[in-house]
Subunit: 353 residues, 2 copies
DNA sequence: TTCACGACAGAAAACCTTTACATCACGGTG
DNA sequence: CACCGTGATGTAAAGGTTTTCTGTCGTGAA
């Protein structure tokens, strides 16, 4: 299957540009630097990692030689003795979901600033795979960020037992977390709809096990009760485009005036399905999403949704993780980031029939 | 700035679930297994990595003990002596571009199958950053995939000199590459437009330095010449939504009947701008994209575009890289993957005025 | 019976770095 | 003048694994 669409396999033996001494790249070690600078290896090591322990004159000489030789410490050797790897890992449910790549982008940038490299894995929304990936990663990172994990509480606690862990969009007592206040975002959504005059709204559930889904529902129900709005719950649906297609028909049948989708991708599916069925948005029914993906503003009509601080959450996750590591795994913090309703073209006053 | 939107920092000292013996996790080493199985460490090592060198009875005993103790080889120690890390790296220009995350997803999955972990870095389309990231990565991976690199040929050759390298969407003599046949895709686009009756088309350039851009233009020009179509070249523009907004006006002013965008994101920008100006698509002007992002089918009208084998390219890149590594860096292959025109709603016969 | 050889397992070196400890010189204090 | 503290550097151990070299044992052939 993989091969089926492959084209011609050409140039099997292209001339490499320079074959000579490719093998001769033996990597310069700390001994080479020591010899050249006429000091011991210990001094070189110190000059690089604890500069104030060595006399300035010596330090400068060592550093000069190191630079000249292009010395790069061998990370394997270093981490063998220090127990630190200089890496962090993140496992996300779906790399094709812009929500997670937004987080990943911020996380990657911050990690780089702190001189950490980042491993990434995609669990395909499968809890079993998630656990496996974490286990595989654990040995070669200083800590792991788990984005919207599907694992249950006990398994997460078990993981936190022997590796530094930060959760993203999942709150669990005793484990650091970067959280986005979805409940507040959903409250804003509902109050927006109430202001427009809606009295019967449908919520399209995301995955039942998802913390975010529970949070969003919680915020929604609280606000609905408070404002005396009838809330029809539908689903759960897969949090994907196809889920939205499927959900749209159910929502229409449930005779609601507004459809509140678990996330933008589902909302886009809903919009597509409604368009196919000739049901005008927002005239016949209002639709809202959640996440504010770039593409939410590009469809027509542009989607009313809730903006999430994705990059910020990614950066925060790194900060929390490094804090946790630096404090010998004793420091725990959970930080809530605020979300923001973005009103666009898919919401208006309900049809008067 | 980072802190500005943070909410309350709570629960500074939540009770960790189980504090006792968190420190006692000392990791079981090969010696422990050896002692328990009453063999030497050498035998344990062999039982795990070269099973046929040890008598079945012994091997089974060792394996049983290893499993019982939950032994996991220390990768740092292993790579210290073998020189292999078991990691590969990929650097992409933009993690928020679905094109690259599509590739990343496939790449990650394949790497996992082969028991490799993957480092990811985002260069933010900056060649300098790109070079830096590669250098930083080089020491801790067995090979690197460079997606649509912005670096110039010489720098790429320099990198290939001392690390295994696979390029994605960039062809360079003597370096392995996974390529998508954009030229053929663009030929299909133009022939589609010709068939509809278009005779004067505008091409919106992507970044001038981009190999993909040159390829697309090449395919387009060849087909245009062959079919006697007038091709107006505009740009370059940034390959983003904003670039499309900007390009749309220029294309309209150039009085073409069809706008061929460098990629989908730009095409979406074009569509948005045309909508704002009240220019109907495809009645007044046809528009095409390139990449077939999920969202290309969700806008209205849905975008005519060219599908790229993203996941396949990611998997292929891993295969090429591992092949290159396994062959002692002597094997070079360049593989072209086919692209596919997807006709949707943004193309039709030209306006007859 | 002896010898050669193969199959198996152990001992030890090697990979490169960090760091605890030792050494040394020097200046100050009692 | 003896002693001590301090700052700068060197020595060597340690970290966990792979791999080469060596040794042992048993088997089959001469």
């Amino acid at each position: 299957m993989t091969l089926s669409r492959r084209g011609t396999r050409s140039d099997r033996a292209l001339r490499p540009r320079e074959r000579a001494e490719k093998r001769a790249v033996v990597a310069v070690t700390i001994r080479d630097v020591a010899r050249q600078a006429e000091v011991s290896v210990a001094t070189v090591s110190r000059a690089l990692s604890a500069p104030d322990l060595v006399r300035p004159a010596t330090r400068d000489r060592v550093l000069a030689v190191a630079a000249e030789l292009g010395y790069q410490p061998n990370r394997a050797a270093r981490s063998l003795i220090t127990g630190r790897t200089g890496n962090i890992g993140i496992v996300v449910p779906d790399l094709e979901n812009p929500f997670f790549t937004g987080v990943l982008k911020g996380l990657q940038a911050r990690a780089r600033q702190a001189d950490y490299a980042v491993f990434v894995s995609d669990s395909d929304e499968d809890p079993t795979a998630e656990a496996m990936l974490v286990r595989a990663m654990a040995k070669q990172v200083d800590g792991i960020v788990l984005a919207a994990p599907a694992l249950d509480d006990d398994q997460l606690y078990a993981i936190a037992e022997d590796t530094s862990l930060v959760l993203l969009n999942r709150r669990l007592r005793g484990i650091s977390a970067a959280l986005m206040n979805s409940a507040a975002g959903m409250r804003q959504v509902l109050e927006h709809l109430v202001a427009l005059g809606h009295r019967r709204c449908g919520y399209l559930h995301g995955p039942r096990t998802s913390w975010s889904n529970r949070e969003r529902r919680r915020g929604l129900r609280a606000a609905a009760t408070q404002h005396g709005v009838e809330l029809v719950e539908l689903g759960p649906f897969p949090p994907r485009y196809e889920g939205g297609l499927q959900a749209a028909d159910l929502a229409v049948a449930a005779d609601v005036t507004a459809i509140i989708a678990y996330n933008d991708i589902m909302a886009l599916g809903v919009l597509a399905r409604l368009r196919d069925r000739g049901i005008p948005v927002p005239e016949a029914v209002s639709v809202t999403g959640f996440d504010d993906l770039v593409f939410a503003s590009l469809c027509s009509p542009p989607l009313t949704t809730v903006a999430m601080p994705l990059g910020q959450a990614g950066r925060l996750a790194v900060d929390l993780l490094l804090e946790h590591i630096a404090s010998d795994r004793t420091e725990i913090s959970q930080v809530d980031l605020e979300t923001q309703l973005i009103v666009r073209g898919t919401t208006s006053t309900p049809a008067t029939n």
